[in-house]
């Protein structure tokens, strides 16, 4: 197929960016979206132009590195996939595809399509852990039986890959879905109870400090989330937050 690509180009954080048009031939349906960009970049390099820089690593949908706002949607039109798993068979010959970086105040652009998501790390650093020493001298793993349903639900929350699609999808650029996934994982497990109060307070405080917006329960985040993290986690975060405020 032949495609027209409209791509955000920006030299560095302090430069002004703009949309640039490229036309690309010979795209096959079996290519992933990023492989399509590889082909474009190979052409640009051979022409002596600077290739389009974008974040990517595992290319199998688990590391959370790839991003991209594709035709206005984080990770593009397919559901439950990251950009690296999106295949060109979802597009057709003659299509125009608009490719932008994830947009949020807390995700400043570094170059072209690459944004800085270290704000997510700082939210996790504020409390996304259980404070046990890593000596291995804990109780036997089976000394803590956990209801299978709770364990499965915790696992579902824990599958968040930290890509930032929830923020990019949200009109308020809120990080509630991301933060709630970690809070939920621990809230659902007995090991997480001891520090529950401090955890939710600290993580929410950091989230606000980073400049993420508020949640207005639109639910766009859940729809765009490549891992299907449920909106129920936000409800659980709110519950945890309010009850910890009363205890606090």
């Amino acid at each position: 197929m032949k495609l027209t690509l409209k791509i955000w180009r920006q030299k560095d954080a302090s430069s002004k960016g703009k949309m640039v048009d490229y036309s690309l031939n010979g795209v096959e349906g079996d290519m992933s979206f990023l492989e399509m960009l590889d082909v474009l970049n190979e052409e640009l390099i051979n022409k002596g132009e600077e290739p389009v820089e974008f974040d990517h690593d595992c290319r199998e949908g688990i590391c959370g590195t790839c991003s991209l706002q594709i035709n206005g949607e984080p990770h593009g039109p397919d559901r439950l996939v990251t950009t690296c798993q999106l295949h060109m068979r979802k597009f057709k010959d003659g299509d125009t595809i608009v490719i932008e970086p994830f947009r949020a105040k807390a995700f400043p652009v570094i170059k072209d399509l690459i944004v800085d998501r270290s704000s997510f790390d700082r939210i996790q650093q504020a409390g996304g852990y259980i404070s046990v020493n890593t000596s291995g001298n804990t109780v036997d793993a089976n000394a803590i039986p956990i209801n299978k349903h709770a364990a499965d639900e915790a696992m579902d929350a824990a599958t968040c890959i930290g890509c930032g699609a929830c923020v990019a999808a949200c009109k308020n650029a809120s990080a509630m879905l991301f933060t709630s996934a970690k809070v939920s994982q621990f809230a659902l497990l007995p090991q997480g109870q001891v520090e529950a109060t401090e955890r939710v307070q600290n993580m929410v405080r950091q989230m606000d400090l980073e400049g993420f917006g508020n949640c207005t329960n639109t639910g766009a985040c859940e729809i765009e989330c490549p891992k299907g993290i449920s909106l129920e986690n936000i409800a659980r975060l709110n519950r945890e937050y309010y009850s910890s405020s009363l205890k606090g």
């Binding site: 590391c63 996790q124 650093q125 890593t134 793993a141 364990a151 997480g192």
Partner: protein, 667 residues
């Protein structure tokens, strides 16, 4: 033996680690505050080591090329992690895990290291559960297990098909706790460009800030390299696009011996290559072999009809299918180790029985499992006389609960529904058993430079068993290094901060800058990927699943010529001041072009077949690997002497005191 001292403690195998821990030196808590440790790589080994060292009180700096420590490629491990817990009561023990691992590695690993690994394995599970890792559970609330290849017990713990992700997020969380306390300083989007030695000891690194392009100096009293494997030397592999050998190779050039580079794991169950545009390959977890049956058509004409799209796999009758693993290896069936399963797939496809349009694929079929699970589910939910449709529906639900994410991944890539039509799979490069040579303390041949996880060579011999990489990474990071590095650092309590304005740092930085300038100064004929793909083709065709002397010799010459061409003609747009992904790739490919040649040389030197290293000249009449214990019962450790062709071989003789060497059989 010469300069290779493995430092294996004396005494009975089962007591070595405990005795060793009881007798090594410790650093008192107040002194730990004056000691700096650099950890490069934040996967399971690096993340776990960084968190634990910081928790003990050392000042830790971590470095990763990714934008967050959580994105290290350990995250992509799917199937599970082994531990000798014997929760299933099926006869497991430390000894049995040790034995299976040594046998699985085709008797080319170090007994004492492997026993220690088995010994600490149970602690890993305890530790991870305490950290809130959501392992799969049974209805009674206790932990569930599954089976992996090459063993006869169920000792694999898992978190759906995302075990690596959950374990890494556990280590990342432990790191975050220390970052929050100020004990770890995390440098993301930073790449280690060189190791700095002062008075023969590793005392720091030169790193490049990948955002600004700045070259930075960082000093420490010890340097831990936990930078993963070098599978990307093949261009196409299941590794992440950024996975590279640079840190290990830079250390190698500074004096760390590189061991067994030719031991590569080609994983049997990956999604086949679809075309020339392909940038990476995707694994389908080995856990699928618990329930999937592997087959090709019995008759060549059926295979041809399938390739041409005239016949569908589901139309082929049971008696027209060749379940070749079950046929050749009745004892282990579909759960033979990876090297055996990969070679068997290649054998069938080379013989003309492959099933996709390239002829390089076999089927992994879940129909039998869906029926079996469906029947069981019908009974347990009180549905008697269930018809076929109900059984299939229930069976699919069970399979989805077990492997849903993998099936979804497959469907997105191949555009076929694996619940309805069998998956197509083919072997792909997945893991490298070789790596930096380390002694029992995980120290390389450079004092103060340690290697952990996939980056070292020690535990898996010539072939790694499934679910053992996660075990080794976490064992090294959480439980081994924190002890052994303390022994070394106990000599540094009076050293004080290592200055970064020394001539050694000056020289190392100059080397790095010169190298970057040289890369940028290429004539500009071909892109970095052009060279990487060429290298990958040579590696796959001549150093892949089977090797012979003639082609290995050719590979050595071709890689050497390609390397010269690369340095002369590579094209890197932009500049080195600022973010430049092509420049990052170029530095990594430059090192692969050296490693690839050493790889071929190592394979050429090893005149035997063992594990993942299969030399066509050395096989039994039935086509099984033929080991030569008399002449090759050693680990090859290569010393850098300039060009790879000049590398000098040192041998670490492997001593087996507790296990009798046997021909590995899974029949």
């Amino acid at each position: 033996m010469g300069i290779l001292d493995s430092k294996i403690p004396a005494g009975p195998l089962a007591d070595k680690w405990t005795n060793h821990k009881n007798h090594i030196n410790l650093v008192n808590p107040a002194n730990k505050r004056n000691i700096d440790v650099i950890v490069v790589g934040t996967g399971l080994a690096g993340g776990a080591a960084a968190a634990t060292l910081a928790e003990l009180g050392y000042n830790v700096k971590t470095f990763c090329y990714q934008d967050s420590p959580r994105r290290a490629h350990s995250i992509a491990a799917q199937g599970g992690i082994n531990a000798a817990k014997n929760y299933q009561g099926d006869g497991d023990s430390n000894y049995r895990l040790f034995y299976d691992t040594v046998k699985g590695g085709d008797y080319r690993s170090r007994e004492a290291n492997v026993y220690r690994l088995a010994e600490v394995s149970a602690n890993i599970i305890d530790q991870c559960v305490a950290q809130g890792v959501p392992f799969a559970r049974e209805y009674g609330g206790l932990l569930d297990n599954r089976s992996f290849g090459g063993v006869l017990v169920s000792r694999t713990f898992y978190a759906k098909g995302q075990t690596g992700q959950q374990l890494l997020l556990g280590a990342y969380a432990a790191m975050n706790r220390q970052i929050n306390r100020g004990k770890i300083k995390s440098y993301t989007r930073h790449e280690m460009m060189d190791l700095v030695k002062v008075d023969g000891k590793a005392r720091g690194i030169i790193a490049r800030n990948l955002v600004t392009g700045e070259i930075e100096r960082h000093s420490g009293h010890a340097v831990v390299l936990a930078t993963g494997g070098y599978g990307n030397v093949f261009f196409l592999s299941t590794n992440a696009m950024g996975s590279n050998v640079m840190a290990a190779w830079r250390a190698h050039r500074k004096g760390a011996f590189f061991a067994n580079p030719c031991y590569t794991q080609i994983h049997p169950t990956c999604i086949p290559v679809s075309g020339d545009h392909q940038s990476k390959l995707t694994l389908m977890s080995e856990s699928l072999r618990n329930d999937g049956r592997i087959w090709v058509p019995k008759r060549k004409e059926d295979a041809i009809a399938i390739r041409e799209g005239k016949l569908k796999p589901n139309q082929l009758k049971e008696e027209d299918r060749d379940y070749y693993l079950e046929r050749r290896y009745p004892a282990f069936g579909n759960l033979v180790p990876r090297d055996v399963a990969s070679r068997a797939a290649k054998e069938r496809c080379d013989a003309g029985f492959g099933v996709n349009k390239t002829g390089e694929a076999v089927y992994l079929d879940f129909a039998a499992a869906i029926e079996r699970y469906g029947k069981e589910k019908a009974l347990t939910t009180g549905i008697h006389n269930a018809d076929k449709n109900v059984i299939t529906k229930l069976g699919k639900e069970v399979v989805e609960a077990k492997y849903g994410n993998l099936f979804q991944m497959y469907e997105k890539i191949v555009d076929e529904n694996p619940y309805e039509t069998p998956m197509m799979i083919y072997p792909a490069v997945h893991y490298t058993m070789g790596g930096l040579w380390v002694d029992y303390n995980l120290q390389t041949t450079i004092e103060g430079c340690y290697a952990a996880g996939e980056a070292n060579f020690s535990d898996h011999g010539a072939n790694r068993l499934g679910a053992s990489a996660l075990m080794q990474g976490l064992a090294d990071g959480y439980f081994v290094l924190p002890y052994t590095i303390g022994d070394y650092l106990s000599n540094d309590i009076r050293t004080g901060t290592i200055p970064t304005d020394s001539p050694e740092f000056d020289a190392a930085e100059k080397d790095v800058t010169d190298r970057l300038n040289k890369l940028m100064g290429g004539k500009g004929l071909h892109s970095v990927d052009y060279y990487h793909k060429k290298l990958g083709k040579i590696m796959w065709n001549k150093c892949g699943m089977s090797r012979n002397a003639k082609e290995l010799q050719e590979a050595i010459e071709e890689i050497s010529a390609l390397r010269a061409d690369f340095w002369e003609n590579v094209k890197i747009p932009g500049s080195s001041n600022g973010m430049n992904q092509e420049l990052e790739k170029a530095g990594r490919v430059a090192d692969f072009l050296e490693l690839g040649e050493l790889f071929a040389k190592d394979a050429l030197t090893r005149n035997e077949s063992c594990g993942g290293h299969f030399r066509e000249e050395y096989q039994t009449e039935e086509g099984e690997a033929l080991r030569d214990d008399e002449n090759f019962k050693f680990a090859s450790a290569w010393e850098y002497k300039g060009e790879p062709k000049d590398a000098v071989l040192h041998k670490e003789e492997l001593v087996y005191e507790n296990i009798e060497l046997k021909t590995r059989s899974y029949k």
